[in-house]
Structure formats: C-alpha cells, structure tokens
C-alpha cells in the first residue's frame, strides 16, 4: 500500500449541511481503514456566514490539518473564492450547480445537488448525500462503504430516510462517474487500520467520564463545551446518571459540589465566561475538599470573545483561580484518544486527593474528529481513594471529615453512612468540620490541604518527548497544539534537523524537574501555544526559572498546523516576555 495523505474541504453557509457531508466522508474514510483528522471552522450564527469542514485522511495517524487540498466541495460561492487557491495541483472542485459562479475550469464538477436529491431521495436536502456520493466517487472510494455509513448515520431517522439518502448518494456517484472528465490525484485505497472509532475531543471526554462512573453532570450551555454535556444527557436513560442543565454556571458547579459530597462522581463542562462564574465554587471545593471534575473547553477571550473559535488562553487563569490558596490538578489531553483516558483518570485524581481537577481542552480539540482504536475498557480503573465503609463508620465514635494526616488526605464518608453525621463547611474548620477561628488550627488545616499538592506531585503524568534524542531544538507545547508540533518535528527531522517535541499531558502539579531533564542540553527551547502571552512558557519560568528562548504563538482564533510552526520558527518567532 502506498502512503497517502489527502485533504477534502467542504465549505458553505451555516445550515447548508456541510457537517453532514463531512461526517459521511469522515466515517467512510475510517471504514476504508484510513486514519483521519477533521476540523470545523464556523461562525457564531445559525444560518449564513461562511463555514467549512476540512477532513484529512491518510494511511498513517494524523494529528492536525494540512494547508493544501485535494478536493473542495463547495456549497456556496465563497468556498470557491476563498479556498480554490488551497488546492494542490490537480485538485478537484465539486460545486453546487445552483451557485452563481464562473466555471472554475476543467478539473471541476458542477453538481445538481438539489435536483438529484429531490429526484432520487425525495427531498432537496438529500443534496448533501448527493454531494458526498459524488466526492466519494471522484476520490475512488468503495461505494459499499459509503452506503454502509449512510445507512448507519440515518438509521435513527428511520429506514425510509436512510434508504433515500443511500439512493441520493448513488445518484451523486453516478453523476460524477458520467460527468467528471478531469482527474483526481487522490485515489483512495483500503488502509490497514482495523475498525476504528471516530470521535471528537468532546465525545471522547464524555465517553471517558462515563467510563469513569461519573454519576452527575450539571452544566450550562456554552460553545465549545456544550458537546460534552449534551452527549452525556443523551445517555441518562440507559445509565445511572443524572444530568441537569443549570440556570447558570454558578448553579452548575454548586450542584456538582452538592452531588459529590452526597456520594456521586460529579462534573461540569464549561468555557470562558462560564468558567469565570465558577471560580467562587472552585474555591469552595478547595476548602471543603470536594472532588469535582471541571472540563474547560477553551475559546478566545476576554469576555464573550470569539464564541466558536479556538485558543489556549486560560492556563494561568485556571491555575490561580479562586480566592485563597488550595491545591488542584490540571490535565490537558493532546488528542481525542488521550481525552478519553484523561477524563477517566481525572475522576480518580479528584477523589484520591479530594480536590477539583481540570481537564482543559480547546475548541480545536473539542470539535475535531480523530480516528483511534476502540478503547480497552478493562483498562479503565476506578479508584475512589480512601472512602470508609458503613462498618468502619459504625465502629467510630464520631466521624471527622477533615482528619489531619501526613498525606493531607482524610478518609471520606457521605451523609447518613453508618449512622454518622458529616459536616462539610465553607469556613475554616476543625477536623470534625465545625468552624473555628483558632490560629493554630488554621495553620494546621492550611498545611494539611497544601500537603496534598506534595502528595500528588509524585504521581504526575510525565511530560513526553517525541523526535530525536539529544535534540538541538525542543518544541515545548500542550493540548491540541501538540499535533502540529509533532508533525513539524517530523518534517524538520526529515530535513536533517534534530528536533523534539516536549509536551505536557499534565500541567499541574508542574513536573519541573522532569521537564528540565528532558530539555537537557538543547540549544533552543521554543514554546508553542495558542495564546498571546505564552502561558506555558511563563509557567516554565515560574516553576523552574528557565525561560523559553523563543515562542511560537497564535491567537487569531484559528488553529495552527505544522506549516505554521515551521515557518514561525524560521522567522524567529516572537518573544513576548
């Protein structure tokens, strides 16, 4: 099998169905045994505007998007005007015949989408399946696979609808077969991957949380985090899981704190402004030692910012958020696959250390599709930390929720267990949970809580190196920017450089010593992230004194890719500090 790496872009207005077309193609690529990475670019509006979906598929794992396209499926004129230039030589444009546009040239197909949709599927909207069929045909995909995909995707809408869509897709394929006279450089082969999952970051986070036994989700809708709660809401009928859309984010985190202290694994998912509103509740969780998982899907700020765009601008905010001082953990999965495992692990860390735990994602990770092998669910472990059982409690004279221990961790119990009462306070308190203003107690309790930070520091998910040993250049990065760095390093090393990516799946407690060891004698440390002030670079300095030599930053709301990283490093990047 040859090595292939193809990209298809589907562009059009909001509401025109680009998501549908892209989903059909994505699922079908996966079923051809190929890997994929597909990302969305959309406006904060429901109809109109110019949006697109870009699907990259390859015979090897892909982590980010490519600058160049093989196929452009255009549902509006803007798609051609804006993106035709992105086509590789020999790329193909498939466009809706109803668009008023000049003929884009020989390697293009004007497709009567609505007409064929109506004729073969019964409805003009089936034009989406027509387009998918035509594109699939041009790319030389296996039609049976596409039909299977359609069958499954539309299954919930009834077999009539799924049949109609299949017919429409076939009509599109036929039409392309008969009318496309050009040549497409992308000719799909069967890949070697076994049947793989296709998941967005949001879906993987939700699935991981469910696997971890999350029992309670309360959230308030906010792009790009809503996908997490909405996915979980869809599962409440078949799992022991309660979901509630809160009246605001303040209620959301406080509901979760209530549920967690009553005994359930609990979480919230939010973004930007929404998280800002949770800061007081976060501090409460710090004080009363509540395990609660906060999925923070980052988007550009300040304030409402760019609602549907991407950024990694809330790292130092989440690290320092909340009045007073208390420990927390911050994870930042780099891919959808990792998002699953991180979510699952986050609940363990939260419960073991009885702290709030962040799982940071960003719009680019949250909304992008990735392929991955099915998860081995037997590998999901659930560790609730030290929870007393009823018998143990019955034997106690009184239960002390905040018993002072060497590790800082006190054995937990829930109200009503073993006939004991549990006091969970928001003020400073004694071991039994009751308020006190005693200064000696205060110092001991603050020390106890902070000790958990140290206990946790030994178990941090280690930073990971990828690329050459003894590198000259180290790209230091986190979150979804990892994908771009990884491919940039591959490319640089192909060109004879000695580069490495050093990425941090967990950012707090910061594994400073390990990072310094891994940086080793590298001549140049380049921090790469999606924000304006170089927050990981700053965190490195805060924790180790070492400063990156260079920063590659991007904060226009659009994701970076390998090409951007390479060109910025070449230009000398910026140095924001």
């Amino acid at each position: 099998m040859d090595i292939h790496d193809y990209s298809v872009k589907v562009g059009g207005e909001a509401g025109q169905g680009i998501n549908t077309i892209a989903s059909i193609l994505s699922r079908s690529f996966a079923d051809q045994g190929l890997h994929l990475f597909a990302y969305q670019d959309y406006y904060s509006r429901v109809r109109g505007g110019h949006n697109f979906y870009q699907v990259r598929t390859a015979t090897f794992p892909v982590y980010t998007f490519s600058d160049r396209l093989e196929v452009l499926v255009a549902l509006d004129k803007a798609s051609i005007d804006l993106h035709a230039s992105e086509l590789n030589p020999g790329g193909v444009i498939i466009y809706d015949q109803d668009i008023k546009t000049d003929d884009p040239g020989q390697n293009a197909l004007a497709l009567p989408m609505a007409a064929l949709g109506k004729e073969h599927g019964g409805k003009a909207v089936m034009g989406n399946s027509v387009a998918a069929g035509a594109a699939w045909q041009v790319m030389g995909g296996d039609l049976e696979i596409l039909e299977n995909t359609l069958g499954r995707l539309f299954q919930i809408k009834g077999s009539d609808i799924s049949e109609a869509n299949i017919k429409a897709a076939r009509a599109g394929a036929d039409y392309a077969n008969n009318n496309f006279s050009g040549h497409c450089r992308c000719q799909l082969q069967k890949g070697k991957s076994k049947k793989s999952l296709v998941l967005t970051g949001n879906e993987a986070l939700a699935l991981g949380s469910l696997a971890a036994g999350c029992r309670f989700v309360s959230s308030y809708p906010m792009t790009p985090a809503s996908g997490v709660m909405q996915y979980m809401a869809r599962q409440t009928h078949r799992l022991p899981l309660a979901f509630e859309q809160a009246e605001d984010e303040i209620a959301a985190i406080n509901m979760s704190i209530g549920a967690a202290n009553a005994g359930a694994r609990a979480m919230v998912a939010t973004s930007g402004s929404g998280f800002s509103l949770m800061v007081e509740g976060l501090s409460l969780a710090g004080m009363n030692e509540t395990p609660v998982v906060i999925v923070l899907g980052q988007r550009p700020g300040p304030a409402t910012g760019l609602a549907t765009r991407t950024e990694q601008g809330d790292l130092l905010f989440s690290l320092h958020a909340g009045n007073g001082e208390f420990p927390r953990a911050i994870f930042a999965p780099r891919t959808a696959e990792e998002a699953f495992w991180t979510a699952a692990e986050a609940f363990n860390v939260a419960e073991k250390y009885q702290i709030p735990v962040f799982v940071m994602s960003d719009q680019h990770l949250a909304d992008s599709y990735y392929t991955m092998e099915p998860f081995d669910l037997n590998k999901v472990t659930i560790d609730r930390g030290h929870v007393l059982d009823d018998e143990e409690l019955e034997q106690m004279k009184a239960y002390h929720r905040y018993k002072i221990t060497d590790s800082g961790i006190s054995p937990r119990a829930f109200p009503g267990q073993g006939g004991k009462c549990v006091m969970v306070p928001g003020n400073e308190h004694m071991e039994n949970g009751y308020s006190t203003e005693d200064p000696v107690n205060r110092t001991r309790m603050q020390d106890k809580r902070i000790r958990k930070h140290r206990s946790m520091s030994g178990e941090v998910k280690p930073p990971e190196s990828y690329g050459k040993n003894d590198p000259g250049t180290v790209l230091l990065t986190w979150g979804s920017s990892y994908g771009s760095c990884r491919e940039a390093v591959d490319e640089a090393n192909r060109q004879g450089e000695k580069w490495q990516v050093l990425s941090l799946p967990q950012l707090w407690p910061f594994p400073g010593k390990q990072v310094l060891d891994l940086i080793g004698k590298a001549k140049r440390v380049v921090s790469v992230e999606m924000n304006a002030t170089g927050q990981l670079g700053r965190l490195l300095r805060l924790e180790t004194g070492r400063q990156p030599d260079l920063a590659v930053l991007k904060y226009d709301g659009r994701p970076m890719n390998a090409g951007y990283v390479l060109s910025q490093v070449e230009k000398g990047g910026v140095f924001p500090w």
Binding site: F216, A242, E244, G258, F414, P425
Partner: protein, 288 residues
C-alpha cells in the same frame, strides 16, 4: 420510631446574640425532626452564610455549610443523587433573596425535594446591619444612611407568582404555627418554601419581636384555603398594620418532585460509596 430531640444537641457554644429569633426557630426545627422520627444522620441541612446559615453549626446533623446564596444548587445536587436523606436548606434573607435570588426562581421551577427555610430578619445580621432586599422603606442602615429608598421585596408574592409547590410564612414568635408548617412541609415531595420572620435585636430596631407580634395573624385560622392561588395572592399583598402568616399555597395538583421528574425510578442506584465501572461498551461501539 421515636427519636429523642436530645440527639440533635451539640456541645458547642452558640454564637448568636441573646434574644435572637434564631434560637426559637432552631428549637422548633429540632423538635419537628425528632417528632417525625428522623435521626440526625437521616437529615441533611444545606446552610447558607449568615446568622441563619450558622444554624447548621448549632445542632447535630449532616450539614453542608456552603457559600453565601448558594445553598439551593448544592441542595439540588445532593437531593438528586441521594434520596435517603431528608434535605433542608436554611439561610437568611440576604442569602436567599439577594445573593441567591436566581436559584430560588429555579428551585421553585424544578420543584426540588427540599424544604427551604428563609430566616427573614429583614436585615443583614452577620455583616452588621446592612439593608437586605426585605428591609423596610426608610430604614437607616450602614448602606442606607439616608434611609432606604426602596420598598421591601415581598417574597411570598414572588413565590406565588412562581406558583411554587408550597408557600408559607411564619414567625419565630409563633412556635406552634411554625412547627405545624415545618412538619407538613417535610412530609411532602417537592419544594417547600417558608419565609420565617424573626427579630434581630442587634441590628433591626424597627421590625422587633414586638413589632411582629402585634401584626401577625394566621390566615389558615381565618379560613384561607391553601388550594386557592388567587386568594393567596390577594392575601400576600397585605403588609403593614396586619401581616398574614400561615400556608398561603399548596399546589392542589402537585407536580412530581424534581428527583422523580428527572430520574423516574432509577434514583436509588445513583449514589453510595460503592461504584462499579459502567458498561459503556454499547455506547462506544456506536462510534465504530
């Protein structure tokens, strides 16, 4: 089961001022809970921040003593995952009507399975006497030194506007009525709201024990039928020379409590210290 009210006693100094209305309210609550055969570990008090919220620290029971104004969301979360506990929310007028106003609207809308006691002294006690949303017009306080320019909020009228499941007002000086109302509210599924007038001798020099005592009367004794929303609303508008107390409204066609509405039959399985990995295989495979 008979429970001795002494089980609720706690060997801790009570930090309220002498003569504060909170003592009487706590007394009634302890007796009511014991009277219902509930042991302290079967009860969960979610308490706000303020003098009223300190109540959760003054008698023995499970307590989540949370943030100012946030008691209702915490109670909502706890009640959804644990249906073995009898859950009360207890806070002040500032806590509930100022900081926590939004949650009150939505607790009523959701009909959460919680009895909510607002200790309404018409002032901020713990922070030393500032005006609260229910403070009387013209009262001078540290934040209204020229006299409060606003009329006080009418919480009963507001809750009737929300058509809350159970809406009552009582007075710390009428222990019998308060006991009856509490008792009733604790045996109902869904949300029960009780605004409890009480004196704050330290800071509210206008709405004193005596001031209340001279004004309150019992609407139920005078024949008000709690099923009658419109009459309840009419009565609720009264405030001044006479202050109506009692059960204003009990929904004659009660909706299910929130726990039932959201979880149906499966609530029992949600919580508890044991937890098994969920079977999510089926869900995962939908993505294959």
């Amino acid at each position: 089961m008979v429970v001795d009210v002494k089980e609720y006693d706690l060997d801790r100094e009570i930090t309220w001022c002498p003569g504060c209305g909170n003592f009487a309210i706590m007394d009634v609550l302890k007796n009511t809970l014991a009277g219902l055969g509930l042991s302290p570990h079967q009860v969960l008090v979610v308490a706000g921040i303020g003098q009223a919220g300190k109540m959760g620290q003054h008698f023995r029971t499970n307590t989540f003593h949370v943030l100012h104004g946030r008691l209702l969301p915490v109670a909502t979360g706890a009640s959804l995952v644990n249906n073995d506990l009898k859950i009360l929310a207890i806070g002040g007028d500032g806590d509930g009507y100022a900081e926590g106003g939004n949650h009150l609207i939505h607790a009523a809308r959701r009909n959460i399975d919680v009895t909510y006691m607002v200790h309404n002294n018409m002032i901020y006690g713990l922070t030393k006497g500032q005006a609260s949303p229910t403070s009387e017009q013209s009262i001078k306080t540290p934040t209204t030194p020229q006299g409060n320019p606003l009329e006080g909020l009418n919480p009963i009228s507001m809750l009737l506007g929300l058509k809350a499941n159970f809406v009552a007002r009582s007075f710390a000086g009428n222990k019998e009525q308060l006991g009856t109302i509490l008792n009733k509210s604790l045996q109902k599924p869904g949300f029960a709201f009780i605004d409890i007038l009480h004196q704050c001798p330290s800071f509210n020099k206008i709405n004193t024990f005596r001031w209340f005592k001279e004004r309150v009367y019992d609407i139920n004794e005078e024949g008000h039928d709690p099923a009658d929303l419109e009459q309840a609303f009419r009565l609720a508008q009264e405030w001044g020379e006479k202050i109506p107390t009692g059960i204003f409204f009990e929904d004659p066609e009660p909706k299910p409590g929130f726990r039932e509405a959201v979880l149906g039959e499966k609530d029992r399985s949600i919580t508890g210290p044991e937890l098994n990995p969920l079977d999510i295989k089926e869900i995962m495979e939908e993505h294959l």
